[in-house]
Structure formats: structure tokens, C-alpha cells
């Protein structure tokens, strides 16, 4: 708190210390019954663990001080027009080939050789993470670009998974035939959901989509004749590789590469979509629905394409999920999954492809590698989420709008001209 203290005197420091003292006292009081007092019923005595009280007091005092310091620094920093040091560094990394080429090469080699250097278990986790990358990118179309808060996204994932499982069970359809069908069916469900919610926005939309997700799950759970109920569907074949029978390890590696391919395909398509006429219409819809309509954009069609295209990816990943686990049942498609995918989109940065990819990898891999912390795993995970949202509410990487270049107006001339008009005013 050095320069902050200098600027506004010792007052802020004193106040921060006083607040932290209060916070630590409050925490000591709150945790007293759980962490300090222990009743031993056998010996009929009460054990007072004063050491715990001391640790909690000191710990919460320090954490509160650090937290106050950081928020103080953040609010004091005025948003300036000149980009920060980090942004300049990032721009330099993106522009200079001698920086980004080796980095890119490293990343490509790691992804390609990953299954050969790590165990089947690690490859499996990585495949799951890649599945969430695609799910995140799919939901990013609906939530990040079109601004439609969808809490029932997992329903489309379930549609994809069940369409493969059921088509395979009844008609013996293979993985590659089921993939487009699952995607198409999910898109159809996306449109089906889209129609009733066309008029809804924000919180209301969120509640209806949440209900929709639950309806799909409850149907799968209770309509035994159709979906085999809670017992699920087993023995779903893994994807075939030109008629070859792969071992379990082989199939894992194969699925890994399949997911890499799908991730690249998704990034390609979403990137092209968001810089197209349709993508612009989605963003305009997110920014101001009324103005968007008044500018001649068909709200109905734009919303439905967003729902349908978002659902398509969930359907595809659903088919892959069924093929990967070879067994599916309704508990795989609870609201928690929707919430997780939404967390990926929000944490990554709404509408930002790179952000969503990184967030998906972090959010899925973090709990796996935090297993060392055993029961504190989810606590740490939650803490990371909360801290992220406090200090970077715009997400890991906020989306930047595309800059266009023109032949008739070179950038330099444009800049000179701005000075001209500024002088005119």
C-alpha cells in the first residue's frame, strides 16, 4: 500500500487495518463452534483448540488486507485510452513472428504428441476438456454473441448423446452416421426451444431455458420405454476407424485426435460466423434488441439461428460423449453441467474464442490436478472462480472487435483527418 498510502495519508491504511481486524474477529466468531470447540462424547469433555482460533484470526486478517489492497488498486486505476503494459506485450507477441512462431510450434507439438507422452488416464481427461472447449464455443454463440442467457444448454448435449445411443440400439447405426444426425436433431431442438422464448429476455429467458433443460432430463429419466430410464443405455460402440477394432488405449488416442479435429473445426466455423453478416446481427441483438429490429434485422430468424447453431455443437459433442463413455444415463445431464459450460463462457470472456478455449481447459483440468488437495479441491476451485470474477469481470480474454482496413482511406490519412475534425469542433 506504499504509493496509495502516500497519496491519501495514513487514513486509508488505518481504516483498512481496522476493517481487517473486524473481519478477522467476525471470522473467529463464526468458525468458533466448528473449528475451535470439539466435544468428545466418550470422555465427556470439551476440547478447546485455541491454536485454530489463532490461525483463523491471523489468516483472515492477512487475506482481508491483501483483498482490500488489490480492490483499492483496481478502483484507483482509471481506464486510460493508452493500452497497458500487458496489452502492449500481448500485441507485440501477436505481431512479431520470432515470438509467436516458436510458441505456436510448441503448442502444436504438445497437442499432437500428448497421447504418446502421457498415460491413457491423462489423455482421457484431456479429451474431456476438449469436449468442454467445443461445448463452451457452442454456448458462446448463444450467450456470448447473441446475448441469450441459456441455462438449459445441457439438454442439447443429452439430445446428441441419446440420439446416438438409441439409433445404435434400435437400428445399429454407426458413430459417423449418428454424428450429423445427432447434430441435426440438437439443432431442431434448439429451434423448438427458440420459438416459445422469442419474446423473453434476460432473467425470464434464463428461467425458461432452465426449465427446458430439466424437462429433457426428466423425460429421459421417466419414459422407460423410450430411454430405458435411470438405468441408462450401455454397450454403445466406440467410433470405428475404417473397420478396425481398436484396443481401449487405441480408442482413447483416436478419440483424442477426433476431438482435436472437432475443436479446430469449431474454432474455424465460429470465427467465420462471428465476423459475418449473421454474426454482426447476433451482436447487434445482444447490444440493443429494439434498435436492432428497427435497423431491419429479423429478430425471430436471428434468435432461432443462434439457438440452432449453438445447439448443433452440443449435439455433436453429445454423440462423442456417448461413444467415449459407452454408457449414458440421465444423471450425466444435470443442471450442474449447464452451469459449468456457462461458467466457461463467462470466465473466458463473452464472445471471445481464445478466452473460452483457455477457460474450458482451466476449469476442467484444474479440478483434476487439484486432486492432491483431496477434500479442499472444490473449495479451492470455488475460490479461484470468485477471485477471477472480482478482479477480471470481463473474463480472461475480452473479445476485441475486428478492425477493417480500407483502400480509399489509409490509416495515416484517417488519423490526420481526426485531428482536423477535432479542431473544427
Amino acid at each position: 500500500m506504499t504509493d496509495a498510502g502516500k497519496e491519501s495519508g495514513g487514513m486509508t491504511t488505518a481504516r483498512a487495518v481496522r476493517r481487517s481486524l473486524l473481519v478477522s474477529l467476525w471470522f473467529m466468531f463464526l468458525t468458533l463452534p466448528i473449528l475451535v470447540i470439539r466435544v468428545n462424547p466418550v470422555a465427556q469433555e470439551i476440547v478447546w483448540r485455541w491454536r485454530n482460533l489463532f490461525l483463523i484470526g491471523v489468516g483472515s486478517f492477512v487475506l482481508s488486507l491483501v483483498g482490500q489492497f488489490l480492490t483499492h488498486r483496481q478502483t484507483r486505476r482509471t481506464p486510460s485510452l493508452t493500452p497497458g503494459r500487458l496489452a502492449i506485450f500481448r500485441q507485440r507477441c501477436m505481431r512479431e513472428p520470432q515470438i509467436y512462431v516458436p510458441f505456436l510450434l510448441c503448442a502444436v507439438l504438445t497437442t499432437l504428441l500428448f497421447p504418446w507422452f502421457f498415460s491413457t488416464y491423462q489423455t482421457n481427461i484431456m479429451t474431456t476438456a476438449l469436449m468442454y472447449v467445443v461445448l463452451g464455443l457452442g454456448l458462446n454463440i448463444v450467450v456470448g454473441l447473441a446475448g441469450l442467457l441459456d441455462l438449459g444448454y445441457v439438454a442439447f448435449y443429452a439430445v446428441g448423446a441419446y440420439s446416438y445411443a438409441l439409433l445404435n440400439h434400435h437400428f445399429g447405426l454407426g458413430f459417423w452416421a449418428a454424428l450429423p444426425i445427432g447434430a441435426g436433431l440438437a439443432a431442431l431442438f434448439g429451434i423448438l426451444l427458440g420459438f416459445p422464448v422469442l419474446r423473453l429476455r434476460g432473467d425470464y429467458l434464463a428461467i425458461v431455458t432452465l426449465g427446458f433443460g430439466e424437462i429433457i432430463r426428466l423425460i429421459l429419466e421417466n419414459w422407460n420405454e423410450f430411454s430405458f430410464g435411470p438405468s441408462g443405455i450401455a454397450n454403445i460402440p466406440r467410433p470405428g476407424f475404417f473397420g478396425l477394432d481398436l484396443s481401449l488405449a487405441g480408442a482413447t488416442v483416436y478419440l483424442y485426435y477426433l476431438m482435436i479435429g472437432l475443436v479446430l473445426f469449431t474454432i474455424f466455423v465460429v470465427n467465420r460466423l462471428q465476423n459475418s453478416r449473421i454474426g454482426r446481427a447476433w451482436i447487434a441483438l445482444r447490444e440493443d434488441e429494439l434498435a436492432c429490429q428497427a435497423m431491419g434485422i429479423d429478430k425471430t430468424r436471428t434468435k432461432l439461428t443462434a439457438f440452432a447453431l449453438g445447439a448443433t455443437w452440443a449435439g455433436m459433442v453429445g454423440v462423442i460423449f456417448a461413444a467415449k463413455t459407452t454408457f449414458i444415463n440421465p444423471p450425466s445431464f444435470t443442471f450442474l453441467e449447464s452451469a459449468m459450460i456457462l461458467a466457461i463462457v463467462v470466465l473466458g470472456g463473452m464472445g471471445s474464442i481464445a478466452g473460452v478455449v483457455i477457460a474450458a481447459l482451466v476449469l476442467i483440468l484444474l479440478p483434476e490436478y487439484l486432486r492432491a488437495f483431496a477434500e479442499y479441491r472444490m473449495l479451492l476451485f470455488g475460490a479461484v472462480l470468485v477471485i477471477m470474477m472480482i478482479f477480471r469481470p470481463q473474463g480472461l480474454i475480452s473479445s476485441a472487435r475486428r478492425a477493417y482496413k480500407f483502400m480509399p482511406v489509409p490509416v495515416a490519412a484517417g488519423r490526420n483527418k481526426r485531428h482536423g475534425t477535432a479542431a473544427d469542433h
Binding site: 459475418s276 453478416r277 449473421i278 454482426r280 440493443d288 429490429q293 428497427a294 435497423m295 477493417y404 480509399p408
Partner: protein, 265 residues
């Protein structure tokens, strides 16, 4: 030349409140008509009815596009269809797409005149690429014309206030309207900016041949700009005429100043 836009006995009720009461109005091609009246007279509601954001309770709205000849019925159409037919508007409280760039804002206006779909976007077919290029060129040209050429890639939210107002007009022009509806375009502007706006509106009329219907409280602007002025109060049209006629109309003075003041004045 016959009227471009004809409004016949337009009514709009909100519950028990009659916001528009049998309003008749017409705008000829290339004409600048101003709509004035005290706050709450129903001017913005009238715009909302015209552009399809509100569905009028009764009455007819017809548009005759000079080149195309047919008489198009506008009431009951959704807002995007009305814009397609050739009516474009700006908003009283600026409603730009704040997190999009200036150019993208105008490119949105081109949406209803282009048609590339999902497949065009993903596969970048020749047609889609050419169309996209045309959207950029046309939008850039409009920005240049409105003196926003230096802001192309800035986010709309970062523009100075006057430029934001002009960008709203640019965005509306991108939809290729035959009639432009401006809802208080000079609100919050300083005299210098208002003078520039006056010039701009006249330029839009003379160079693009677009008729303009505007709501405005700045009387100096209204008087200098309009061919005809329509005065509204309590949802009714109380007067109509040239600026000179309106200035001396006792009904208008009463509506603006209230009965007592008008008598003493």
C-alpha cells in the same frame, strides 16, 4: 407529386389512455416535415407506430415508393419489415450498438439489403465475399459523407456525443430509406453542433432525395429547416402549416405556454 407517406386517422391506446387520437398526416417525397408539441403529446409514440415498434389500435399507414409505384400498407408489419419497405429512424435516447465499432454499426444497417446466410459465412463463397466487400465499401462511404471518416474502427461508446448522434443517422441511412424519421436529433447539442446538423439534414435531402420527418424541440432549427410543421398536443394534431403560419397560430402558443399565460402574453 403525390404523397410518399399517408397516415389516416391513426389511433393508439395504452389501456385507457389515448396516446394518439385520429391523427392524419402526409409527407411528400423530398419534403422536410417537423413534428412539434409539448412533452407527452405523443410524438415518439407516433414514431413507434410508424416503425412497427407499437401496433396502432386503429388507422392506416401507407407508403408509396416513387420508383416502385405500389401502395404499401405498413401497419401491422414488424419493425424490420417496415425498415425494408423504406422507413428508417433514429432514437431520442441514443441507441447505438455500443460495443461494436462505428463501421460495424453502419454495416448492421446494410443487413436488410443483403442476404448472405450461414453457409455463405462459413464457406465464404464468392457471392458472400463480394457482398461483404460491398457492405464495407458502402458503409465506409456513408461514414465519409457524414464526416465520421476518422472514427471507422473506434467503438461506438467512445465517440463524442455529437458524433454518436450523427452515427445514428448514418446507420439509418445505410438501410437505404425513402423517408428518414429523426427523433430529437439536436437534443443535447450545442449551437455549433446544431448548425452542423441543420446543414447535414439539408444535404441528406438534396443529395440523396430522402424525405425527412423530424421531432424536435429546438425551435430555431425547426423554423429554419422545415417545409411544413405539424403541431401535436394530447395525441391530436392541433395545427399544421408553414413555419410562418405556425409561429402566429394562437392554438400553438396556448399548447406551449398554457391557457393563462397565453392570454396574458
Amino acid at each position: 407529386m403525390g404523397p410518399l407517406l399517408t397516415i389516416d386517422r391513426l389511433c393508439m391506446d395504452f389501456g385507457g389512455l389515448r396516446a394518439l387520437d385520429h391523427l392524419n398526416l402526409s409527407v411528400a417525397a423530398g419534403e422536410i416535415v417537423a413534428l412539434i408539441g409539448p412533452n407527452g403529446a405523443g410524438k415518439t409514440t407516433f414514431f413507434n407506430c410508424l416503425t412497427g415498434l407499437c401496433a396502432p389500435t386503429a388507422g392506416e399507414i401507407h407508403l408509396v415508393v416513387p420508383g416502385r409505384g405500389q401502395r404499401l400498407r405498413l401497419n401491422g408489419l414488424p419493425p424490420n419489415r417496415v425498415t425494408e419497405k423504406g422507413l428508417a429512424r433514429t432514437f431520442q435516447n441514443i441507441r447505438l450498438f455500443a460495443d461494436m465499432t462505428v463501421l460495424e454499426n453502419v454495416m448492421i444497417g446494410r443487413h436488410c439489403r443483403t442476404k448472405a446466410g450461414v453457409f455463405g459465412a462459413v464457406f465464404r463463397s464468392a457471392a458472400a465475399r463480394i457482398e461483404e466487400q460491398q457492405i464495407v465499401t458502402a458503409s465506409a462511404a456513408i461514414l465519409e459523407r457524414l464526416g465520421l471518416g476518422s472514427y471507422f474502427n473506434d467503438l461506438a461508446r467512445n465517440l463524442p456525443y455529437g458524433a454518436q448522434r450523427r452515427l445514428e443517422i448514418a446507420r439509418a441511412l445505410a438501410t437505404e430509406p425513402v423517408l428518414l424519421l429523426l427523433d430529437e436529433p439536436a437534443a443535447g447539442m450545442n449551437p455549433q453542433e446544431t448548425a452542423e446538423l441543420d446543414e447535414l439534414i439539408l444535404k441528406i435531402r438534396s443529395e440523396l432525395g430522402i424525405a425527412i420527418l423530424l421531432i424536435e424541440h429546438d425551435m430555431r432549427l425547426v423554423m429554419s429547416l422545415s417545409d411544413r410543421i405539424v403541431v401535436m398536443d394530447h395525441g391530436e394534431k392541433i395545427a399544421e402549416g408553414t413555419p410562418a403560419e405556425i409561429r402566429s397560430n394562437p392554438l400553438v402558443i396556448t399548447a406551449y405556454l398554457g391557457e393563462d399565460l397565453a392570454q396574458t402574453a
